[in-house]
């Protein structure tokens, strides 16, 4: 009996050790990211590297936030991400319901096809079309292309959620004379609210993180934050502190969202295998 307990304890210690090993690259990575952003240039260029800053400074953040274009880039990111997420919900939630109810598995395959297709392959034709329409200097191309990303995420997650709902309540509503639109709006939608939350978070993160559509379609005044960070990396003097600070500022909303909503995010990712990036 005693040996059994001992073995169990050793097993638990082994699991904890394995988890610590698996987590260490991530913990070190984000520690280092924060460390770079809080150190002055001398400490950042020191070798051997300075791990804990002697005099932590917020100067790098101040520099990033004071930059002329930072406000505009942030606003662009917010407009694009919110529009792409809201439009995807308006289009995708009813579609998920329709597909789930009609048991139309063919359309689910179509959504899967969107995942298989490289994002760049939409970009060549869309680039030419937007150029023809004279829209390249606006945010419209970005919002539209982000739909390529967000609509499949929303539809995919909502199909799963609506399929899991018991049909009894809607059927009762239909028997009582409700139209299918009313049954959807008044009965199914409120029940699927957790699913809508998951879909919203994942669509938001996917759109916020997106880089490839922006690098092709955005101009200097319409670039989103990931493109801005990339530009500051290539075009300006390489100075690690402000770069690390801007990287952290850009990804902070996503990291905070993940920490706060981890339960919903894990549920959504596990169900759909959808990726956020």
């Amino acid at each position: 009996m005693n040996r059994h307990r001992l073995r169990k304890l050793a097993g638990q210690a082994g699991v904890i050790f394995a988890v610590l090993v698996l987590l260490s690259p991530t913990v070190f990575f984000f520690f280092w990211m924060a460390s770079l952003s809080l150190k002055n240039e001398v400490d950042n260029m020191a070798f051997p590297p300075v791990f804990i800053p002697h005099l932590p400074t917020l100067a790098n953040y101040a520099k990033v936030l004071a930059e002329n274009e930072f406000g505009r880039d942030t606003l662009n990111s917010i407009i694009v991400t919110f529009s792409a997420t809201a439009l995807a919900l308006a289009i995708g939630v009813p579609a998920g319901y329709g597909v789930a109810k009609a048991k139309a598995t063919g359309s689910a395959t179509l959504i899967l096809l969107a995942r298989v297709t490289p994002a760049l392959s939409f970009l060549i034709p869309l680039y030419l079309i937007f150029q023809k329409l004279g829209l390249l200097g606006t945010l419209v191309p970005l919002v539209v292309t982000h739909l390529v990303l967000t609509v499949p995420i929303v539809v995919w997650i909502m199909i799963g959620f609506f399929e899991g709902l018991p049909p009894d309540l809607e059927e009762a509503a239909l028997v009582d004379g409700a139209t299918i639109w009313q049954a959807f709006l008044r009965v199914a939608m409120p029940l699927a609210r957790p699913g809508i939350t998951v879909a919203t978070i994942l669509a938001f993160i996917g759109s916020w993180n997106n880089f490839v559509f922006g690098i092709v379609l955005a101009g200097r005044t319409t670039r989103t934050l990931p493109v801005a960070v990339y530009n500051s990396m290539t075009f300006e003097q390489v100075s690690w502190g402000p770069l690390a600070a801007s990287a952290l500022v850009v990804t902070a909303p996503v990291l905070i969202l993940t920490l706060v909503m981890q339960k919903q995010i894990v549920a959504g990712l596990t169900a759909g295998g959808v990726k956020g990036g």
């Binding site: 699991v15 904890i16 988890v19 698996l22 987590l23 991530t26 913990v27 990575f29 984000f30 280092w32 770079l36 070798f47 051997p48 590297p49 995708g92 009813p94 579609a95 319901y97 329709g98 597909v99 109810k101 009609a102 969107a114 298989v116 490289p118 994002a119 760049l120 392959s121 939409f122 970009l123 060549i124 034709p125 030419l128 539209v144 390529v148 609509v151 299918i180 993180n209 880089f211 490839v212 934050l225 493109v227 960070v229 990339y230 990396m233 770069l243 690390a244 990287a247 850009v250 990804t251 996503v254 990291l255 969202l257 981890q262 894990v266 990712l269 596990t270 169900a271 295998g273 990036g277």
Partner: protein, 294 residues
């Protein structure tokens, strides 16, 4: 009077209306561009205007361009590491997170951060860590007595290094899929095995692995699709360099399309690239069928 089957069909059709807006969007931004790409791949397009039909010349050029052949090989090299390593590590991680231990929820949240964080931001910090003289990674290596590595600065190490980031980023997704699979496993076979005196390894080998296999295949297929398409990290850190040592199919495609504006040729690349991804996916799904039959 309508037969019941017809009535049901009518219902299904009415539910179809819910999908109309999504269908319009899919048509406009997914199907239409596809048709456009197909047409473009048969044309020569120049930024100064003017499109001329060139038939299959773009494809002929593509299949005789050694640079494209190398890009395909590099993509497979990158993908092989970027699928196998996350699957192995993700399986280990899922088995760990399936056990009870203190602060499990918090640990799992930290573990999934790499796949949620903005790829450009991540790539930027990694590239600072790879710096040959001032980077923290070489400091860590030398401080434990290992020689410094060239990371993304050498033609031989650049692909493994990028695949390492890919692994770090996407092991969490594999872990989550397999964790979902583990949670759904029945308890009975384990009870029976324990009564028969099976040890932990035998339980894993003969019960967990076979039952988890369908989930492993799903994770492998998704990972393969995503690794073949990997773009952000590679583009931000190396842009295909040094030289063309990390120029995968997707980077090659990007360069052709938006650095040189060979849009007709790039359209042909897109279609071939898509066919490659679909072919690999179908082969892997075929493996799944076989393994289920076994």
């Amino acid at each position: 009077m309508l037969p019941p089957a017809r009535a049901g069909g009518g219902y299904a059709r009415r539910y179809g209306l819910f999908s109309v807006p999504a269908a319009v969007v899919v048509l406009a931004v997914i199907v239409l561009p596809w048709a456009f790409t197909l047409a473009m791949s048969l044309a020569d397009w120049s930024p100064t205007g003017g499109t001329s039909w060139v038939g299959l010349a773009n494809y002929r050029h593509l299949f005789t361009d050694p640079e494209f052949g190398w890009a395909v090989l590099r993509t497979f090299y990158f993908t092989a590491i970027g699928v196998i390593a996350p699957l192995v590590l993700g399986l280990i991680a899922a088995l760990c997170f399936n056990q009870r231990f203190p602060l499990r929820g918090a640990a799992r949240t930290v573990f999934i951060l790499p796949m949620m964080a903005t790829p450009v931001a991540i790539a930027l910090v990694w590239s600072m860590m790879f710096h040959p003289q001032l980077g923290v990674l070489n400091y860590l290596l030398t401080s434990i007595g290992l020689p410094p590595a060239a990371w993304t600065y050498s033609e031989t190490t650049v692909i493994p290094t990028l695949a390492m980031i890919e692994t770090w980023q996407w092991t969490p997704l594999v872990m989550l899929i397999l964790l979902g699979g583990l949670a759904a496993l029945p308890g009975d076979p384990y009870e029976a095995a324990r009564i028969d005196g099976a040890n932990a390894w035998n339980c894993f080998r003969h019960i967990t692995l076979p039952l988890l296999w369908p989930h492993i295949v799903v994770a492998a297929v998704l990972r393969t699709i995503d690794a073949l398409k990997s773009f952000d990290i590679i583009y931000v850190i190396t842009q295909g360099g040094p030289g063309t040592a990390s120029e995968t199919m997707n980077i090659y495609l990007y360069q052709q399309a938006f650095a040189y504006y060979h849009l007709g040729f790039a359209s042909a690349v897109t279609l071939v690239f898509f066919v490659v991804i679909v072919a690999v996916t179908l082969v892997m799904l075929g493996l799944r069928q076989r393994s289920l039959a076994l």
